[in-house]
Amino acid sequence: MRRVEHVMGLPISVDLRDGDAELAESAFAWLRAADAQFSPFKPDSEVSRLDRGELTREELTPDLVEVLSLCDFYEQSTGGAFTARVPGRGLDPCAVVKGWAVQRAADMLREGGATSFCLNAGGDVVTAGEPEPGKPWRVGVRHPDLADQLSVVLGVRDGAVATSALYERGQHILDGRTGQPVSGILSVTVFSDDLAIADTTATAAFALGRDGIEWAAAQEDCEVFIVDEDRRVHSSPGLPVHIC
């Protein structure tokens, strides 16, 4: 069962190989609910209300507390290069919310009994099980210059792959320390077992520029594939490269 919907401004594809097709509907329902709750672009979202001072810390839902603590963790870990609070702008936890919400959607599919699926949210991927017995999900990583080419293919069973890159939205990642667009890296791909970690690590590494290469590689439980501006590839030895 395959389905694509646009949620959070992203095309989200579900490829469900077993389990009830209604599971996909509940996963999309959760993603729409997460968008309504966490979007800084919706005036009545919890994030917007917090940003306007209408909610105190004590009044926040546990989910928003979790998202904000993840934001804080990566902000501290990157010395402020990654931040949900760029000076002069409102609170924007989107960089954490996306991976976190999609990971939870994947958890819901698993809890509902699905054992083989691939969830792709705007290029950030969670997989479970095997698409065919004995074979991993083949996750191609887009080439930073050539939209129809791949720079590497990963073989993943239960795992998450996130890529942060410049090629589509222009320079959409800012260094929180300077407020300026970052440079130094063309594309960061992070493999982990949790998309909240993979996605945020990729974004934070990007925000660090060249320093992000070693920073990301040193993150626990993360394997990286990073293309720098000189088009050199830096990859972790433990990266699950799939030999095609």
Binding site: S69, T127, R231, V233
Partner: protein, 168 residues
């Protein structure tokens, strides 16, 4: 997941030489194979793998934050764990600063050593972390999904992922 796994205490004694070792040829990203301790030491570190570690490892500077994600149910990586497992050593004060390493084991073989914390000194920078460097290549291959392909709706329509979604 990573925060839910009990982390084994690994004696760092056998691994400090890893960091102290200053490889002559660790430039331009070949895997620094010299960073793996000799076989005998591997055996020892295996045997010294003991109780769950309660202190957080270095990247978790806020502690509380990662734990909150641990509440989400995770049923992942059983197959991967069967092949590889990682253990983090304690943070150890050395004359050069605090060192903490993480090793990845395949069975009893150490396949990767990563510095969770390392002093900002020259030998460390040369040796850690272990990253391979290579030239960027382009390939096309049979795949099930694409990472990094589709940030916007307009981009999606022309993307590989859209082609995959409509093909099946």
């Amino acid at each position: 997941m990573k925060w839910a796994i009990p982390v084994a205490v690994l004696s760092v004694a056998g691994l400090v030489p890893v960091w102290l070792y200053s490889p002559g040829a660790a430039h331009e990203g070949e895997i620094n194979e010299a960073a793996a301790p000799p076989a005998q030491e591997q055996q020892q570190t295996q045997q010294q793998t003991t109780a769950p570690q309660t202190t957080g490892s270095a990247p978790k500077t806020t502690g509380s934050a990662p734990k909150t994600t641990g509440s989400a149910p995770r049923t992942t990586t059983q197959q991967q764990q069967a092949q590889n497992r990682t253990v983090s050593g304690p943070a150890v004060n050395t004359s050069e600063g605090v060192v903490q390493v993480q090793v990845t084991l395949q069975g009893t073989k150490i396949v990767d050593v990563k510095a969770l914390r390392a002093p900002n000194s020259e030998p460390t920078r040369m040796a850690l972390p272990l990253l391979k460097q290579s030239a960027l290549k382009a390939q096309s291959a049979d795949i099930d999904t694409v990472s990094g392909a589709t940030a916007t709706s307009g981009g999606y329509k022309q993307s590989l992922q859209a082609a995959i979604d409509s093909a099946k």
